[in-house]
Symmetry: C2
Subunit: 205 residues, 2 copies
């Protein structure tokens, strides 16, 4: 345990605050605090301001629950988006990752988590009712489930599938298989086995 | 390169600010920002305040150049400290590490770095003149050099040694050798060789 005798109460307070962030231990927190001391004042003020502004002003998109500066997020607001397809993801990072690929032109729906009884997260804790409301409007024709292939992800997919079964929507999931550039010998058995079962017609480009 | 299409300018600003901290890449920065969004407002405000307070109010001790809330740091201000011994260290963390051992009762002098021509750090960039001024007063009888055993550390030790050679002070360095609990077979040759050369009389406790 690293619990030094801080000579500065101000330093100690900053280190404590940094240490409460995920993945930052007391030693890293001290390094961050000492780094800020060596920077211009604007650098520290900018960091502090951006933290407060983020926490105070950011909202969730009223449609897809994505992080947004306005009531409708920058994806939902785009007129060119295909409003008949919704991709259901666990969190905000997943939206960014998919947007980053540039190959998806539909809308999103952020659940804000995943069903995990072990962590005490049930369906009511997620934006599932909001998804159902969107589907009731009848504009959405396809729901792509893009959740992790973990036990929790599968449980959530199954729960959503049951919920949506009566609705006139096509329910799909993203393709699972051996990643591009991956070597077969390093691919796990389950993925490799499924990728043979779910083989697709070869289309030379 | 992970450069997602942020749906929030506020989020992007906070991620950019976190990314400028050492050891925090864009993905970690995003995780930190999203973590703060899930916390109470006070949590974010406390972090921001502590950063600004730290940067604006912390000073360097007028004697030893340690980080301090007052003109004299909490070590220099202690009446029980042995004012005849000064331990010269590279940075603030080193003072904390030594204080943490509880086995040193003298004063410190923080150089604020180490002589490193490769990084453009010369003697004039360090608090060496301040050390000389303290020594001129004649109260200090021993200077302990507690710098790293790197090329830069050795260079700095040698430079300080030459500077202090004419002064009536005893110049010592911290003991180097095989660490307590270290196995000989995993100790590097240089350390092991030196630890035999510099062997000490065995004193059963």
């Amino acid at each position: 345990m690293f619990d030094p005798d801080y000579t500065s109460r101000l330093l100690q307070r900053a280190v404590d605050a940094f240490s409460r962030l995920p993945g930052i231990g007391p030693k890293s927190a001290l390094r961050l605090a000492l780094h800020l001391l060596r920077q211009d004042e604007e650098e520290a003020v900018n960091l502090a301001e951006s933290i407060v502004e983020l926490r105070m002003k950011v909202v969730y998109c009223s449609e897809c629950k994505m992080i947004s500066d306005a009531p409708l997020c920058s994806v939902c607001v785009q007129p060119k988006r295909d409003r008949s397809v919704v991709c259901v993801v666990e969190n905000v990072q997943d939206v960014m990752s998919i947007e980053n690929t540039g190959s998806y032109k539909g809308l999103y729906h952020v659940l804000g988590g995943i069903i995990s009884p072990m962590d005490g997260v049930g369906p009511a804790d997620l934006f599932i009712d909001a998804l159902m409301e969107r589907l009731q409007k009848g504009e959405i024709k396809e729901v792509i489930l893009a959740l992790s292939t973990t036990m929790e992800g599968e449980t959530t997919c199954f729960y959503l599938y049951k919920k949506m079964a009566q609705l006139p929507v096509r329910i799909t999931t993203i393709a699972r298989g051996v990643g591009f550039g991956d070597k077969l010998e390093y691919t796990d058995q389950l993925t490799l086995g499924r990728s043979i079962e779910n083989r697709q017609l070869f289309k030379p480009e």
